[in-house]
Amino acid sequence: DAGVTQSPTHLIKTRGQHVTLRCSPISGHKSVSWYQQVLGQGPQFIFQYYEKEERGRGNFPDRFSARQFPNYSSELNVNALLLGDSALYLCASSPGTGGYNEQFFGPGTRLTVL
């Protein structure tokens, strides 16, 4: 079975631009979460979606938005990019919500903002 996939692998943008990151969960998983991992730090929670509804939001500005599609794939959008948005963006999927559900992580998208 395929694991969580993310695209693109790497991305270079300039300040002020917009970016869209994509995630496909493991087949059968209905929950997708997004995390930002700045170099040398632990991941920080951005969003969780379940059945196309937002179930959780971390402490990130409104420039960050996300959505989940009927096939449970997800997009993370970041507007007006800042240098500080440079990070590894991780997507994780799980069968459902609830702490007992293991979250399976994708390989991440490395975003560099110049």
């Binding site: 730090q41 929670f45 609830g98 293991e102 979250q103 390989p107």
Partner: protein
């Protein structure tokens, strides 16, 4: 807000020896889940072991075991018979029963010497 702290930025262990990674957390919840994740240089985060707070018995997965001290809010990971493939970043993480987000510590880089 829940916080997770890993006080050891780096640890080193000789191959075949045992090493313990430390983690403390802060929460007002009584039921929650704790995890240790491994992130090798290839970046993909994988679950090593997890502990349900309501279980008194410490979790064990092959060479990996935890020492869960609920009153002290401590959750350490012991790796026995260390192998070269154990070299990675290790993150301690916490989530509530609702499980809508993982809170990660800052990570410990484990080096394994041959």
């Amino acid at each position: 807000a829940q916080t997770v702290t890993q006080s050891q930025p780096e640890m080193s262990v000789q191959e075949a020896e045992t090493v313990t990674l430390s983690c403390t957390y802060d929460t007002s919840e009584s039921d929650y889940y704790l995890f240790w994740y491994k992130q090798p240089p290839s970046r993909q985060m994988i679950l090593v072991i997890r502990q349900e707070a309501y279980k008194q018995q410490n979790a064990t997965e092959n060479r990996f075991s935890v020492n869960f001290q609920k009153a002290a809010k401590s959750f350490s990971l012991k790796i026995s018979d260390s192998q070269l493939g154990d070299a990675a970043m290790y993150f301690c993480a916490y989530t509530t029963q609702a499980g809508n987000m993982l809170t990660f510590g800052g990570g410990t880089r484990l080096m394994v010497k041959p």
